[in-house]
């Protein structure tokens, strides 16, 4: 059956079809073959997609493209494992399910099986044996279908570094006992906190990175929201922490389009045009925030979602409820003590009670080197000293903030914000 062709877009296929389908197919086949065959599974899916390009372009889309890809990837996978195993007995040991279903496997129900398999893969990526930064890269590669080069571009690192992290992650996966079987999703439930951390990092990489291209940063935020939504709607992840995390993501994503002006320059919260905030994300954020208000734990995601909500629903910068934000930062500091939170809180305190109060809070802090070497630390101090009328200290911190600025966009923002009048 041939569908109508739209010559401009990828005809008949939704946006990101190949990338998202890659994640789905890898997750399904990794369950069938076992996680230790992950590299071969990924190659089998990649090859099936290349074959699809030629076949679909010549003959039109098949009626069920996902099933087509699944069968093609399956055959590639079985062929590759056969080449590797040589004897049937070895093949049976290495991938019993594959051998049982043979050359013409039943195609799984994508609607029913996929969320389960995607989540299982996500939980597998969050193996505690894998270093934190490698977990993120592994999830981006296997579940989001980004290549090493595309990940490098999005994480502001080199392709070689991404490959190194991937290799380390795959190595750990093979070592891990789990790799020899396909663990039931329920047995992985203890990793939920680690899964939350990876999703949170994924979102922040998109949200905070001062990348020149909004579209590129948006990708990571969208992927984080997509995976967190699957988690929140599944029995294994449907807990208040997950809902709070998803609320946080929607509320921050709502403000993303207004963070840059037409030239790509970053805008301060008080300069943003609030009418450009995304209503759909605000609504979703409000719904998930309400759902998160249950149970007996108040997580860091609850605190952060609460802060994001105060900003997102304030009618104007001047009308922001800084007392609430101060309170929420104080709770966040207790849940997850970090001088970064204190720094953020100082900004809220200064808005509420004046620059001296903010400075007093920072005076009590013994900041670690990573903080005093960051542009945020110096930018906040420069701003507070400027507002308190101390021109000399303000200038000193401004110069150090400019020197630490990671990108020209951030440097421009600082120059504008910290100009001494």
């Amino acid at each position: 059956m041939i569908r109508g062709n739209d010559p401009v877009d990828a005809p008949g296929l939704v946006e990101h079809y190949f990338r998202h389908e890659y994640g789905r197919q890898v997750a399904l086949l990794a369950r069938k073959a076992g996680v230790r065959h992950l590299a071969i599974v990924e190659e089998a899916v990649q090859a099936a997609m290349l074959a699809a390009l030629t076949a679909w372009a010549a003959r039109g889309l098949p009626e069920d493209p996902s099933a087509w890809l699944y069968r093609a990837a399956w055959r590639n996978l079985l062929g590759e494992l056969r080449r590797g195993a040589r004897r049937r007995r070895i093949l049976e040991q290495t991938a019993p399910e594959l051998v049982r279903e043979g050359d013409d496997p039943p195609v799984p129900s994508f609607a029913a099986d996929v969320p389960d398999d995607m989540l299982r893969m996500l939980f597998v990526c969050c193996d505690e044996a894998i270093p934190g930064e490698s977990r993120l890269v592994l999830a981006l590669k296997t579940l989001c279908g980004f290549s090493a080069a595309e990940i490098a571009l999005r994480l502001f690192t080199t392709e070689a570094n991404v490959r190194k992290r991937l290799t380390r992650a795959r190595h750990k996966l093979r070592e891990s006992a789990l790799a020899f079987e396909t663990p039931p999703l329920a047995s992985l439930a203890t990793r939920l906190a680690s899964v939350h951390t990876v999703l949170y990092l994924l979102f922040n990489e998109g949200y905070l990175a001062a990348h020149a291209e909004l579209a590129i940063r948006r990708d990571l935020c969208d992927e984080a929201i997509r995976l967190t939504t699957i988690l929140a709607e599944h029995v294994i992840g449907a807990v208040p922490d997950t809902f709070a995390l998803l609320a946080l993501m929607h509320l921050q994503a709502a403000r993303l389009p207004a963070r840059q002006d037409a030239t790509g320059a970053l805008l301060l919260l008080e300069e943003q045009d609030r009418s450009r905030w995304d209503d759909d994300h605000l609504r979703e954020g409000a719904v998930w925030l309400a759902r998160s208000a249950q149970g007996d734990t108040f997580s860091r995601y609850h605190a952060e979602a609460g802060i994001a909500a105060e900003h997102a629903f304030a009618p104007s910068f001047a009308e922001t409820r800084w007392d609430r934000i101060d309170e929420l930062y104080a709770m966040l500091e207790r849940i997850d003590p970090s001088p970064q939170h204190t720094l953020n809180r100082a900004v809220a305190v200064a808005e509420r009670s004046g620059p001296q109060a903010g400075l007093a809070l920072l005076h009590e802090l013994r900041p670690p080197a990573w903080l005093t070497e960051s542009y945020q630390w110096h930018a906040v101090l420069a701003d507070l000293h400027r507002r308190a009328g101390d021109v000399i200290l303000a200038r000193d911190h401004r110069d150090r903030a400019l020197a630490c600025a990671p990108t020209t966009f951030v440097r421009e923002l600082l120059r504008r914000r910290l100009s001494l009048r």
């Binding site: 010559p7 990828a10 005809p11 190949f18 990338r19 390009l53 030629t54 679909w56 372009a57 980004f146």
Partner: protein, 114 residues
């Protein structure tokens, strides 16, 4: 639509393959290919397809494995197009995404009408 027929043979350098495209790039390639196909649909007589590696060469002495190893490039795919002239045939082939890329070339031969 031209009235002459041309056979296009895609040749590529053997050896380590080019970096494989990512799923996002594949989506783009698929879209570009379809746009190209739409533009030249009257000229493309047969989209052909990829050829399996290896093959046989038959002569009076019998069949031998081919293609010959001393040939630096291997024929990887073919298609048939219709055009008015070599110039137009070249233009169609050149615009075909994925046909003329680094390390690959297309041999275009007009088919003699009898």
């Amino acid at each position: 639509m031209g009235n002459r027929r041309y056979l296009c043979l895609q040749r590529s350098q053997p050896g380590p393959g080019r970096p494989k495209p990512s799923p996002a790039q594949m989506q783009e390639m698929y879209a570009t290919f379809n746009a190209w196909k739409e533009k030249f649909k009257d000229q493309i007589l047969d989209l052909g397809g990829p050829l399996k590696p290896g093959g046989k060469v038959v002569s009076a002495a019998g069949a031998v494995d081919g293609p010959f190893v001393e040939v630096k490039e291997i024929v990887g795919g073919y298609m048939m197009i219709a055009a008015e002239s070599y110039e137009q045939a070249i233009e169609i082939a050149r615009e075909c995404p994925g046909v003329v890329s680094p390390g690959s070339s297309v041999e275009i031969r007009e088919i003699m009408e009898t």
